[in-house]
């Protein structure tokens, strides 16, 4: 197998994630923490992020239904999700979080709903792209495929 070609593909894929605005500098900071002692650290963080953000989105959806027009509550939920997005550098998702919070501040229910839908789309896109990226990295590694964590 041409590992150098796979690594080039992975590098290109990662560049695309940054160029398209899905990831920001914070992702590189997370990458800098990866070392021989924690060779899959970035992927572990990503898995944890998608698990946690999925939960937070679900909580928010329930809150939107259970507590109509409770913008303070909605904002508090979104603040948590925004923080999580910031920690991994999920830039587009973070932008939608901020738009949602802006709409909370304006008391705009439709705006909030629209932002949430966009946020869910960005969540799904980023998850799919990062899954592909990490799969490629695993293939490109010197030891070949590793156990695939569930995102």
């Amino acid at each position: 197998m041409d590992y150098s070609n796979l690594r080039r593909q992975a590098a290109s894929m990662k560049k695309g994630l940054f160029d398209q605005g899905h990831l920001d500098e914070q992702f590189r900071q997370v990458e800098d923490l990866q070392d021989e002692a924690s060779p899959n650290f970035v992927e572990e963080v990503a898995v944890l992020f998608f698990k946690d953000s999925g939960r937070l989105i679900s909580n928010l959806e329930q809150a939107l239904e259970k507590y109509p027009r409770d913008f303070n509550r909605w904002d508090a939920y979104m603040q948590q999700l925004k923080g999580s997005c910031s920690s991994i550098g999920a830039s587009r998702m973070k932008s939608e979080c901020m738009s949602f919070k802006d709409n909370c501040g304006k008391g705009n229910v439709e705006g909030c709903m629209g932002c949430l839908q966009k946020l869910k789309r960005e969540h799904a896109i980023l998850r799919q792209k990062l899954e592909s990226y990490f799969q490629l990295l695993r293939q490109a590694g010197p030891t070949g495929a590793a156990t695939r964590p569930v995102m």
């Binding site: 914070q26 900071q29 997370v30 800098d32 923490l33 924690s38 650290f41 572990e44 963080v45 944890l48 992020f49 946690d52 508090a76 603040q79 948590q80 925004k82 923080g83 999580s84 910031s86 920690s87 991994i88 550098g89």
Partner: protein
């Protein structure tokens, strides 16, 4: 500063953070500086640790958490007489610094945290700890 320059007995760090990703990243940073790490998921858990007699050299504390916020926990910890422990308030809003400092925090760091600011803080805590043991 590199992790290899950190010497002496390990710094005991308490992370008070309800966001798992933040807690994992900060734990990883602190492990690189050979810290002993405990994680509390909210301010109340953090206060309980001190009530149980646990001691820490440094606390990294988020602001908004369920059950008890960071500043409230910091106030209670200081009220227990824990004046020596270095407390770092960590939050995404720059305008939240005052609430941490008023509660008794020593430093405020904005999120997302820049990793290279942590090392000097840990080194300072370690120097103080080792000097107090002489």
């Amino acid at each position: 500063m590199t992790t290899s320059t950190v010497q002496g007995s390990p710094v005991k760090a308490l992370i008070v953070e309800d966001t798992p990703v933040h807690a994992l990243i900060l734990s990883t940073i602190l492990r690189k500086f050979h810290c002993e790490i405990t994680v509390a998921e909210n301010g109340n858990e953090a206060v309980q640790l001190f009530l149980e007699g646990k001691k820490f050299d440094i606390i990294f504390c988020d602001k908004e958490m369920p059950v008890m916020s960071g500043p409230e926990a910091i106030e209670k910890i200081r009220a227990l007489g824990e004046s020596h422990v270095k407390i770092v308030g960590v939050s995404a809003g720059y305008d939240l610094e005052q609430s941490f400092m008023s509660a008794g925090a020593d430093i405020f760091l904005p999120k997302p945290m820049k990793f290279d600011v942590v090392g000097p803080i840990i080194q300072e805590v370690m120097n103080k700890k080792n000097n107090s043991m002489v």
